[in-house]
Symmetry: C2
Subunit: 404 residues, 2 copies
């Protein structure tokens, strides 16, 4: 008998037929003797529908009221599933965010969980209930409804699993696990059986489609095993676990790519203290996220500085930098929106030298020019021309022995 938290995403509860499938899976686990807590998202498309309503009534929908509105999505699915389970003859009980005491800060639309009171959930479980909790929502200390941001139900699930000290948090979704690369561009990509929290955090561009990346941070902090699996099959998916628990450590676990990158370079920037702040403050004030930054010092007290931004912000960032360049006396600003980032990720990398040179050589063999490089303990990323992105992923997938 285990305490299991199961989270079902929007496509898994898309309509009453799908909700019946969820009810059956939950029932099976309950019949196996598990204590089951279910976290639900809104029906697929519901959140977008509600945002559409909000945009129809207000140019800038108030964030507090938007959260009140959006919270109805998960309230609906939680009530429907509890209703269905009871109709099937099981004890079930829905809880909304405030009833489950998911206490958050008051950052509407992107709230962070501060604490979770588990007394009510534990009492309901002790009374043999299947507890069905509306994901994505919480309550601030003043009693206002808050939401956790897109994909927030994953974080609800992992945080509730942590608060309950659950044996596992199962994330049911419309894919059957995490792959070594995006199967759409790399046909030889294969499902990963086990992956460490850190690798998962670095695989955002693969994993974010499947799992809200914030939830992985929570899982790591509280050491909650997360099982990413399909709602539509009984097959095992991918376990996200502590590094020590990964059975078979590969040097590289996966290859990711990110097409949403654009590059901006400032040439011959006077190399003075405080110059970086002058360049990046206006960018951050404009709400633009900078990903990679590289600085090459030239002789003669000048430096070249290159950074990347999301493609959608490229034009705005260029305009800002043209003004900055003039002010600080940089020689020239130029950029390129047609770039991509490919990365290899693996905790095994920590103990193996040579991963970087293997990567660079593999790209060079296919005449893929590397524009920028950045590395972390368990990741190496290269900025390349966008048109080579898919080729690069396939080449690296083969190079690091990941092909199925």
């Amino acid at each position: 008998m285990a305490l299991v938290v199961k989270k079902f995403g929007g496509t898994s509860v898309a309509d009453t037929k799908h909700i019946r499938n969820v009810a059956k899976r939950v029932r099976n686990s309950h019949q196996n003797g598990d204590d089951v807590v279910v976290i639900l998202s809104a029906m697929a498309g519901m959140t977008d529908h509600l945002i559409g309503l909000a945009n129809a009534v207000a140019e800038t929908p108030d964030r507090r009221e938007l959260d009140v509105l959006l919270a109805t999505g998960e309230q609906t699915t939680a009530a429907l599933l509890a209703m269905m389970l009871k109709d099937m003859g099981y004890k079930a009980h829905s809880l909304l965010g405030h009833q489950a005491e998911v206490v958050t800060d008051c950052e509407y639309g992107n709230a962070r969980i501060l604490e979770i009171g588990t007394n009510r959930i534990k009492r309901l479980l002790a009374e043999s209930n299947i507890v069905v909790i509306a994901g994505f929502q919480g309550v601030d200390i003043k009693g206002n409804i808050t939401t956790l941001g897109r994909g927030g139900s994953d974080t609800s699930a992992v945080a509730i699993a942590a608060a309950l000290n659950a044996d596992v948090c199962e994330i049911y979704t419309d894919v059957d696990g995490i792959y070594t690369a995006d199967p759409n561009i790399c046909p030889r990509a294969k499902k990963i059986k086990e992956i460490s929290y850190d690798e998962m955090l670095n695989m955002a561009s693969l994993g974010a489609k499947v799992l809200q990346i914030r939830s992985v941070g929570v899982a790591k902090k509280y050491n909650i095993p997360v099982h990413v699996r399909s709602s539509f099959s009984e097959e095992e998916g991918t376990m996200v676990v502590q590094e020590d628990c990964v059975m078979e450590q590969l040097v590289v676990s996966g290859v990711t790519h990110d097409l949403d990158q654009a590059r901006i370079t400032l040439r011959k920037v006077p190399d003075q203290p405080g110059i970086a702040a002058k360049i990046f403050s206006p960018i951050s004030e404009a709400g633009i996220l900078v990903d990679m930054i590289i600085q090459n010092t030239r002789a003669s007290g000048q430096t070249d500085l290159t950074f990347t931004v999301p493609k959608a912000d490229y034009k705005r960032a260029m305009d800002i930098q043209k003004r900055v360049a003039e002010k600080i006396g940089a020689q020239k600003v130029f950029g390129d929106p047609d770039i991509a980032k490919v990365s290899v990720i693996g905790v095994g990398m920590k103990n193996h030298s040579g991963v970087a040179s293997l990567m660079f050589n593999a790209l060079a063999r296919d005449n893929i020019n590397i524009i920028m490089i950045s590395t972390s303990e368990i990741r190496i990323s290269c900025i390349i021309e966008e048109k080579y992105a898919e080729l690069a992923v396939r080449v690296l997938h083969t190079t690091f022995g990941l092909d199925a």
Copy 2:
């Protein structure tokens, strides 16, 4: 400057365009310097849609979970209106039932309000907010969501008006007031300017289409003036007030009719103590509401007993009574589903004799046979053949000087 509670029904918030109309009306009142509390229903059709969802997932939807589901309807409109008002530049704040501290008993689906905590509402008003409250919903002492039954938003509005000691509770709807008779069958019906709580309570069959009748009981208890008016015009509607405050007391204020009646008669019932209980207990156990009951004692220790039930329950009630008649030794059971009830209502009746004979004579003149009669202090009702119902309403409307 007044404290005004405004309630808008489902057709008044049917879509974002209609909600904009509501926002403007609320804004106007706020700009006049009034403290405004708005109570909203769900968008027209929403509650039925949600009940449809519930019936799709469960044969017998659990009542607790159904309330969680239904509460999303009013949550949606409350958030949207608050959002729109804020976008128009006003301070506004939505409150759900539990946030507005509308504490009810735990009779899911038909909860009664026990008390309303007004501190939060008053604080928000003091901070110049327009307070937008989700109607129809409350919370029991354990923190479960409850709903107040069909039309419950009217009761929410009047109860909140009472708790706040508001100057008036305005009920905005898709008709422009209460009429002296149903205008669909009585073209000369006219809008009533003022009506007493008691008259309104007796006019259920006219008023229930406009106003949940429970709300009138609350209004009477706390002496809250209720203004029933149209969302779509600025015209004054009907004021429901204390009897003393009705300016112009007519003998008869209105004529109502109710086609949903069927009659059952037990002939030659042995007239013994306890016999009525034997007849009516099985009816009430079957959940059938009995309206009128008339008993005529014959000589020879026997009695005839006639009562009315809703048409939909006629066959069931007949079956029950056939068994009862056999058991208690009544001679015969017979009935008629093709009857109707017409009533004249007016507080003025208390001080005027002769209303009954005027009514009976008027019906007799048109050869309308009276099958049953029942009276209260301010109402006289006759059961007649259904086919005469519309004629009877028009005749009585003219007889009592109500024609426009």
